[in-house]
């Protein structure tokens, strides 16, 4: 591989990388620098940013128990969503990889088709299902199990349910892309060596797919933690996560310093999670 890379001059490689790097610089790195800069600007009494440098926003955020609580809620939401979405996506992905039906292509397309609709629409869909006069309440009332509708649509539970469904297609794609490691002959070899179907699953399928499952979990976690629309709409103003707080600070409170500081903190959180993930993954690889 290094040989084939040597065959191309350095400038050509640079040229091919340039569009991507440029796009990243304009859409990601520059705004990030700008964000970092906003977060350390002093702020006048009437909310105007002044030139200078101060860590006031960070002091404010880190010194306030509320933001720690929000941070914890955010991480908890991400963990819960990942813990629900990945185990549910796994059998679907395994089925799609294994099935010999001629509908396989259609089924695979159906599994990821929800990605074609906007998150807003799907969140509203869940509101229709879980709402005060929604499907579930109607059914419970009609069956006589309830005399008064219950609130299902506002809160952490509703947010987690909606996020799980919304993010599951990503988990399915991520796991599917990893199933190539699993060769049917490896499973047959295990079975012929005396492994029961359960042992084949536990000792061969699961360890081989663990890295893929972890990648899927990381993906769902990151997407859940950074989601705004779903917690905002499903939470009914009662679910506080970093994304909703940042949104509030930028559009309602107009305190860009705080918003910037919270954004940088969220970024650090992602960095921390990804480095922990990398460490676990490399340890797993070593162990096998």
């Amino acid at each position: 591989m290094s040989e084939s890379m040597q065959a191309h001059p350095r400038w050509l490689r640079g040229l091919l990388l340039a569009p991507g790097l440029l796009a990243l610089a304009v859409t990601f790195i520059l705004p990030l620098i700008w964000l970092g800069r906003v977060s350390v600007l002093p702020r006048s009494g009437d909310g105007v940013s002044l030139p200078g440098f101060t860590l006031q926003a960070y002091q404010h955020v880190l010194g306030d128990g509320f933001y720690w609580w929000v941070l914890w809620k955010t991480v908890w939401l991400g963990i819960l969503t990942a813990a629900l979405a990945v185990p549910m996506a796994f059998p679907i992905a395994l089925f799609l990889a294994r099935t010999t039906t001629r509908w396989r292509g259609v089924l695979a397309a159906l599994a990821i088709a929800p990605l074609l609709t906007s998150t807003v629409i799907r969140t509203y869909g869940w509101m229709v299902i879980l709402g005060r006069h929604g499907m579930i309440n109607d059914m419970l009332l009609w069956s006589g199990l309830l005399t008064m509708p219950v609130r299902l649509d506002n809160g952490t539970l509703a947010t987690v349910i909606a996020l799980t469904e919304i993010l599951m297609p990503y988990a399915i794609i991520s796991i599917l892309s990893n199933l190539g490691r699993l060769n049917i002959e490896i499973e047959q070899a295990a079975a012929l060596l005396g492994a029961t179907p359960l042992q084949v699953f536990r000792r061969v399928i699961l360890p081989l797919l663990l890295p893929g499952l972890m990648t899927a979990a990381l993906l769902v976690f990151v997407l859940a933690v950074s989601s705004l629309v779903t917690p905002q709409l499903m939470g009914g103003g009662r679910v506080f996560v970093l994304a909703t707080e940042i949104f509030n600070e930028t559009t309602v409170s107009l305190n860009w310093q705080i918003a910037g500081a919270l954004s940088i903190l969220l970024l650090l959180l992602f960095g921390g999670v990804i480095s922990v993930y990398q460490r676990i993954l490399s340890r797993m690889e070593e162990q096998f």
């Binding site: 070899a189 060596l193 492994a195 029961t196 081989l208 096998f288």
Partner: protein, 358 residues
């Protein structure tokens, strides 16, 4: 007591894959003594791998029986079959190192720690894998992977060892070495084995019994010598080694009338046949120069000479009949393209083979 002659017994095994008009394996029947090595030999698509997979339980036969040691294997789940299988792809567990690959079958059987360690140690020694115990299988060479696959299959002390073209992915030199090693090991352990290959030299050199297959049918079963020396049909004769096929009519006792070559003496083991039959002579049985006593002789024109290291392959035309001759090097003086030379062979080197499908 189980009859030694039929430790492995296959009766009328049949498999037609969905959507296929012809069976992949049609009424395969054979028996194998305990401790023997059987090779299933044939071109790709002949059904040999399907037959092996039916033995292993990886493919479910439409009908027929597989008996091992008198026990029917029909419906026995994979993990209860106690069979060692070496896949063409080796199918090693990529997430486990060499030792844990070999130990896998023992671990799932719940063998005690000490017994397991001893058994794995024995396998490491047997397969010369010392020093590689803790390597990942992805870091091994093809030959080493092959050894791990064999060690893993043998560790469980299987009733039967199944090998699906195990040498196909090795380079030609290593292939020869591993072939001899598998043969030696198989004899030493006395393990009943079935070996699938499309390589006739491999099949002849490794087997006690060869079953030649084509089109889903077993065409002939016999020892390597029988298969080579007394092929039952034209397919077997042409698939194993080279041959000259001659259309002939039975003329009189010990004499045939051959198209393009005239009267030819026959050995006394060929019985009369009706209509046109096929006679068959191996190229290395054809003699250049003065004929021996009692030999059939003719004159042929040299059309091509190919040098193959230890021998020459000479293509000649005798009347309307093309004859291929193999001559050990060096070539006798005065043989060149375009020249007429005398050819001869002894009646005892003439075989009669059935045309395919009869």
């Amino acid at each position: 007591m189980v009859d030694a002659a039929s430790y492995l017994s296959i009766r009328n095994l049949r498999k037609t894959y969905p959507g296929s008009a012809v069976p992949a394996v049609a009424d395969a029947t054979l028996m194998l003594e305990r401790g023997r090595m059987l090779t299933l030999l044939g071109p790709s698509g002949c059904g040999k791998t399907t037959l092996l997979r039916m033995l292993a339980g990886l493919t479910i036969p439409d009908s027929g029986l597989v008996l091992i040691g008198g026990r029917s294997m029909v419906g026995v789940p994979l993990h209860k079959r106690n069979m060692g299988m070496v896949f063409q792809s080796y199918a090693l567990f990529p997430h486990l190192n060499v030792v844990r690959n070999i130990a896998f079958g023992l671990e799932v059987r719940g063998l005690s720690d000490t017994a397991r360690r001893r058994r794995v140690g024995d396998m490491i020694d047997l397969m010369h894998l010392g020093g590689l115990e803790h390597r990942r299988v992805s870091d091994l060479s093809g030959g080493q992977r092959q050894r791990v696959a064999l060690a893993r299959a043998l560790a469980i002390e299987p009733d039967i060892l199944l090998l699906d073209e195990p040498l196909a992915n090795l380079d030609i030199k290593l292939r020869g070495i591993m072939r001899d090693e598998i043969r030696t090991l198989q004899r030493r352990l006395g393990i009943t084995s079935v070996f699938v290959t499309h390589d006739q030299e491999e099949a002849l050199s490794i087997a006690d019994v060869v079953a030649v297959m084509s089109g889903g049918h077993i065409r002939q079963i016999g020892t390597p010598v029988e298969i080579y020396d007394r092929p039952s049909c034209r397919f077997v004769a042409s698939f194993i080694g080279r041959g000259n096929f001659l259309s002939a009519r039975y003329f009189a006792p010990l004499c045939a009338d051959v198209d393009g070559l005239g009267r030819m003496p026959l050995p006394d083991n060929i019985r009369p046949w009706n209509g046109t039959g096929t006679l068959f002579v191996r190229p290395h049985h054809i003699h250049l120069g003065a004929p021996q006593a009692g030999a059939y002789s003719c004159t042929a024109r040299v059309e091509d000479i190919v040098y193959a290291g230890d021998r020459y392959i000479i293509t000649t035309q005798a009347g309307q009949q093309r004859l291929c001759v193999e001559q050990p090097a060096p070539l006798p003086a005065g043989i060149s393209i375009g020249q007429d030379i005398p050819l001869s062979w002894l009646p005892r080197d003439t075989r009669f083979v059935w045309e395919d499908g009869t």
